[in-house]
Symmetry: C2
Subunit: 155 residues, 2 copies
Amino acid sequence: MKTSQESLWLENQLCFPLYAVSRMVTKLYTPFLEKLDITYPQYLVLLVLWKEDQITVSDISEQLYLESNTLTPLLKRMEKKELICRERSKEDERKVVIALTRKGQELQKEAECVPTSIIEQFKSDDVKANEVVELKLTLNKLLNMFDRKLSEKTV
Amino acid sequence: MKTSQESLWLENQLCFPLYAVSRMVTKLYTPFLEKLDITYPQYLVLLVLWKEDQITVSDISEQLYLESNTLTPLLKRMEKKELICRERSKEDERKVVIALTRKGQELQKEAECVPTSIIEQFKSDDVKANEVVELKLTLNKLLNMFDRKLSEKTV
DNA sequence: TGTGATTATATCGTGTACGATGTAAAATTC
DNA sequence: GAATTTTACATCGTACACGATATAATCACA
């Protein structure tokens, strides 16, 4: 049984390795994304748009769990780089439709090598492939759980 | 076998749930930390200091994997809140020693309930306790691996 | 049909993160 | 022991995150 003091040790926390690994993985992407002149959150937006183009800000918001206060400035920066277009919907003037430009579409080909390059760096003697698979499964379960909790609170 | 297109789908990425869950867990802490008038990274600094007081900025940097460009302003804000003292070391004028104030020490008692409150929220029908343990183990392995890689590059 | 509630996005302020660079003290080298 | 290198922090600029709030368009319904 852990004492209440011990429960406050950094090495006993789950949250800390989650926070630290997340930042380190983002750093892994940086050299690859720099070549494409994009940041990691911008890459995530592109992943969403490459799957489905011409979607609203709130569609992106739902998929990435980022609010408009984060997305609006981020999307404006992507517009300035001419990766996307932002346009008010005709049917519903509240909505803003995000569409890939030619440049944004063409970036997909250049990005196709990124995922395997990253996975490569996860391989090591200590961390087996099946552990990484388990990690991803558990994280996705947690994500869905937190997602449900959030929507329950709104209702 | 995944196509190169499919490898760019958000749901096939490992990095994304890592990034999203990390942010969500930080949000879980917010209501608890707000009562203590601290942020999540400030809480991490306190965790380090509660274990070992009177350490240098680079000691904290090593444990949290945060550089001085992040820590210096963060520690200054904590100094303004009178949680810590920042003082140049007499032996080595380059070093800055961080020490808890009385207020910073006393905050520990109030924080002791936080870890269990958070763990409580991880429990769910979908995510079993042993999965959370596995998650933590794998994340720590990855953290150590990336840590080694970083130090190799410096050498 | 008007009017209050809801929705979709934007703005503002604060606090991280982090690459690049600066600076002064200490260590190393010649 | 002076010059060079390294170390320990600090500063600067840019880009997220996010709580709180604003605003305009749409919806709901009395």
